[in-house]
Symmetry: C2
């Protein structure tokens, strides 16, 4: 489950998600979440970070540009994307969907 | 107080802070805060964000790369750095120092 995914697996994984795309070099998946309230975005970050630390042990790169929160995922140990990145993406979307 | 600072004022402002520096284009000041615990970094972000929203009405760009939290400040309306950026930097350091 923790090996680097094939191209086919990545394409298939992205089809099952909404709003996630690959970054240019192909080693990351990224999603931008927009909030109408700044502190709602911060609360989302806090919840996603707890899940990253306590459930997944897998941490997204997070950037907060006012009401726009960007999450980026990769698996350093594998040098690319693994099943864990897609599992994490789905979990963060669950948090976002409330 | 909200006008763009002169070079001299920026140099003087940076001398009064610890760990803040200018980014290459000179329009931003930046500091990287390192934490020994991931969720401690997230708690810092949460506290800094509340101050940004509720006290300062001035929001840093925030990036979270595991236990490394980076804050970047600029004043869009002034096209550069203003006194508010330095006030915000000092407040975030207060939060960080506990």
């Amino acid at each position: 489950m923790k090996g680097k995914l094939t191209e086919e697996e990545i394409v298939s994984g992205l089809e099952k998600l909404q709003g996630w795309s690959r970054e240019a070099d192909g080693k990351w998946i990224v999603k931008k979440y927009r909030f109408s309230d700044y502190l709602a975005g911060i609360a989302f970050v806090e919840r996603a970070a707890r899940i990253a630390e306590l459930e997944l042990n897998h941490h997204p790169m997070i950037s907060i540009d006012y009401k726009l929160v960007t999450l980026r995922l990769t698996s350093w140990h594998a040098g690319g994307l693994t099943a864990l990145d897609f599992e994490a993406a789905a979990r963060f979307d669950e948090v976002w969907n409330g």
